[in-house]
């Protein structure tokens, strides 16, 4: 059964090839059905494999001989396969959501959009299950290339192409930095598989500048994808302008895959005695994570363009993921996994609801839409529930995840509560303004991105599009289930224990050792965690209420920060270069 | 002797890369980029990688310049009309 693992990449690729090859003769409905079918089949396959436990597949049948192989290994451990399954489910949801979404497909290419989404799926699944550093780079680039094209999909408008360009430049540069790092590792270890590289590093531990440089460079690419400060600038530009269904994928899984890549490489390659000391990694993730969370939250609160607001909330939650990773314990990692699952559901649902707004009113601007959503009760409820999910109201998966991730340090809950409250509060504020017509229409004078977007859909819909709303509802239900099903949390706990086991990973991959996952305490709700979740939800409500009554100081304090988000590709590249320097400084920081 | 060739080829590549960045006009930069591609092909060959050299030649000698120049042409045409 393990040998079917590569099919999670091959099936979507085949579907995409079919859609392009036969796209000219294919009616739109057939093309969209084929897309959904391929995505759903892949999701099914991933789930079946996931149920069986860890799958290791040497592509081409190049099984290792004395621990050495010339082939590429795909490792579907529970975290990797879980992400592949999440990706596939979300892709299926997105394809259903965007049924007849765009007004006209490119002439003669009815299948182009579903084909691109399937390629995106293949890239993400491949990245999630690969156990080889160079192969990870290849799928990283596949994700990137499709991401740029999907972001710029609406070429008739000015903003999408600009956002896609920023996305393209920064991500490609990050990818090349990663590849340089892979080259350094290859020079030192003579291997490319993650498990093999890790073993070689440990065989003769030499914690020198080469290892540090490789770590920093490899991480640069993944952190660019994960939009960690100061690599995050491209994200709001791309997410604000990409078609809404694409945003669901970008924010829901692609960014998280960047975090996954960083964590995967850290645990499999650098966590041993020959890698980078744990306290250095901890410092790196902690500083970067806190900075990302705070910058994202501050920027999120200031937005009136709803998609951009959601994009910045993704940045800030990514920061929290990184903070969760910093501890490096199985428990905190299982918290991050649950958090990612819950966040994917909540964020995708919020984007989906925003898409309904855009479909109806041709705008995603909080000020313009003031009170115009009064007749869309259902969407308003979805928005509010999504906001509470972001804020971490128990029993959403986000709340359980945060509770598990924040427990390893006394002051971290402050950051978690604050960031959750601000990002959730911003969405609640939008809900109150748009769907309740509360307060007065807000006005600002700062230079900023307004939300006067062109509608993306066929024609202004007079009846609420049922499939779109159903998808949003289902996604929220999923986010709720993550925090409400004890069996899932147990499984995630086991997955995280295997994920953080540096030597165990190499043993599974190279020695074919398939022991049961090491037993550990089952992670579940604690009174503190639930209490903090309730607290941040209450704070979010309070913040939103204050904002609606204009009882908060104006956003002048944030002007310098906002000016840094200049939309200028050159600036973003400058920050990327500075970020490489920052990462090296954080890793090499003299302790004590 | 082999090392001398490697050094020469890599020096050529470094010089071409620098020149490609410093030539700010995209059409003229395309010429330098094409020379960078040729230089890389030589460097790959002296590093005993003719396979990579061949693909660099295929991409760098005609394909990339053609794409860049067509882009420049389209972009200039658009600008010219904008001014009218």
């Amino acid at each position: 059964m393990d040998r079917f693992l590569p099919l999670v990449v091959a099936v979507p690729l085949l579907g995409a090839a079919l859609l392009v090859g036969a796209g000219r003769r294919m009616p739109r409905i057939v093309a969209e059905s084929v897309g959904c079918l391929c995505a759903a089949c892949t999701a099914g396959l991933a789930l079946v494999l996931l149920a069986r436990g860890t799958a290791v597949s040497w592509v081409g049948g190049w099984e290792p001989y004395h621990g050495h192989s010339v082939g590429i290994v795909l490792v579907g451990d529970r975290v990797g396969l879980g992400l592949a399954a999440l990706t596939s489910l979300l892709v299926t949801a997105v394809l259903v959501y965007s049924w007849h979404y765009f007004d006209e497909p490119p002439r003669g290419h009815a299948g182009a959009y579903p084909a691109l989404v399937l390629l995106f799926q293949a890239g993400m699944c491949g990245f999630a299950v690969t156990g080889d550093l160079f192969d990870a780079f290849v799928f990283f680039e596949l994700m990137g290339v499709v991401g740029y094209a999907l972001t710029g999909y609406r070429v008739e408008e000015a903003r999408p192409v600009q956002g896609a360009l920023a996305f393209g430049f920064v991500n490609s540069l990050g990818g090349y930095a990663s590849l340089l790092g892979v080259g350094l590792l290859y020079a030192r270890t003579g291997e490319l598989g993650m498990a093999q590289v890790g073993r070689q590093l440990d065989a003769a531990p030499r914690r020198d500048a080469l290892v540090v440089a490789a770590f920093v460079l490899v991480l640069t690419g993944f952190l660019v994808k994960a939009a960690a400060v100061p690599f995050h600038f491209w994200l709001p530009d791309a997410h604000a302008v990409a078609p809404t269904p694409v945003c669901m994928l970008l924010s829901g899984v692609m960014v998280e895959l960047g975090v996954y890549g960083a964590a995967r490489v850290h645990f499999t390659v650098f966590a041993g005695p020959g890698g980078v000391p744990a306290e250095d990694v901890r410092r790196l993730f902690l500083v970067l994570g806190v900075a990302t969370a705070l910058v994202g939250a501050a920027m999120c609160w200031q937005q009136r363009h709803v998609k951009r607001l959601l994009a910045f909330s993704t940045v800030s939650h990514t920061g929290l993921f990184l903070v969760g990773l910093a501890a490096g314990t199985a428990e905190s990692v299982s918290g991050v996994c649950l958090y990612v699952l819950g966040h994917a559901g909540a964020k995708a649902a919020l984007f989906a609801s925003t898409g309904v707004l855009l479909d109806r009113h041709g705008s995603v601007d909080e000020c313009e839409l003031h009170g115009r959503g009064r007749d869309m009760r259902g969407v308003g409820v979805l928005f509010a529930v999504g906001a509470f999910a972001l804020a971490g109201l128990p029993p959403f998966g986000t709340a359980l995840g945060k509770a598990l991730a924040e427990e390893h340090s006394p002051w971290l809950p402050v950051v978690f509560v604050l960031v959750s409250a601000v990002t959730g509060g911003a969405v609640l504020r939008v809900t109150a303004h748009v769907f309740l017509g509360a307060g007065q229409a807000p006005r600002t004078t700062q230079p900023e991105t307004r939300g006067d977007e062109e509608p993306e859909t066929e024609e202004p819909a007079w009846r609420l599009p049922r499939p779109m709303i159903a998808v949003a509802g289902l996604l929220l239900a999923g986010a709720l289930a993550v925090g409400a099903v004890p069996a899932l949390a147990e499984e995630v706990g086991a997955a995280a224990r295997a994920f953080t086991d540096h030597a165990g990973y190499a043993a599974v991959v190279l020695d074919g050792r398939r022991g049961a996952a090491p037993p550990g305490p089952a992670a579940w709700w604690t009174p503190t965690g639930a209490g903090l979740g309730l607290l941040s939800a209450a704070l979010a409500t309070g913040l939103a209420a204050l904002a609606v009554r204009r009882a908060l100081p104006t956003g002048r304090w944030s002007a310098p920060l906002r000016r840094l988000h200049s939309g200028h590709v050159g600036d973003y590249v400058v920050w990327t270069a500075a970020g490489i320097g920052l990462l090296s400084a954080l890793v090499l920081w003299p302790v004590g | 002797m082999a090392d001398v060739l490697v050094v020469l080829a890599l020096m050529f590549v470094a010089a071409a890369a620098t020149a490609a960045v410093l030539n700010r006009d995209p059409a003229r930069q395309a010429v330098v980029l094409s020379l960078l591609g040729l230089g890389l092909a030589v460097a790959f060959t002296v590093l005993q990688a003719p396979d990579v050299g061949l693909s660099q030649l295929g991409v760098g000698s005609a394909l990339t310049p053609l794409m860049i120049l067509l882009t420049v042409r389209k972009v200039r045409k658009g600008k010219g009309r904008g001014r009218e």
């Binding site: - | 060739l5 050529f12 010089a15 020149a19 410093l22 010429v31 020379l35 030589v42 050299g53 067509l70």
Partner: protein, 143 residues
């Protein structure tokens, strides 16, 4: 010390180096001429390297340059050169250089290789190079 590799190094320094300089400065015409010169010399460099390393397989590189090099120059000639800006500087040297350098490289190589398929390949490359050189010179000077 291998004279073939020495020749390649010489061509690299004395031929491709100045071409880079010319291609990176000055007007469009001068740059295209330099690019053309560089591709022609590059083909010879590959032939010399193949001989110097004793690897006939490397001759394929020269074969590909012999057709793609002129194609690249024609791209520049078509899309970069101004039609009425006259003869670019240095263009009149193109044909003589090709006419002298190609036989000067190919003929000794043929002699060393001896009759056989490899020699036929060398002759084909030489002919393609000459034809390409003449055609690109025409294209560059058509103004």
């Amino acid at each position: 010390m291998n004279p073939w590799l020495g020749g390649a190094a010489l061509l690299l320094v004395g031929g491709l180096g100045p071409s880079l300089w010319a291609a990176a400065s000055g007007g469009a015409g001068r740059r295209v001429v330099a690019q053309n010169m560089a591709t022609l010399l590059l083909c010879l460099v590959f032939l010399l390297l193949a001989q110097g390393y004793g690897r006939t397989a490397y001759v394929d590189l020269a074969l590909v340059v012999a057709v793609l090099g002129p194609a690249g120059t024609l791209v520049f000639a078509r899309l970069l050169l101004d039609r009425d800006s006259g003869d670019p500087p240095g263009a009149r040297w193109l044909t003589p250089v090709v006419a002298v350098a190609t036989p000067a490289t190919v003929i000794p190589l043929c002699i060393v290789t001896g009759p056989g398929r490899a020699t036929v390949k060398l002759v084909v490359i030489g002919l393609l190079l000459l034809a390409g050189g003449v055609a690109t010179t025409r294209a560059v000077r058509r103004g």
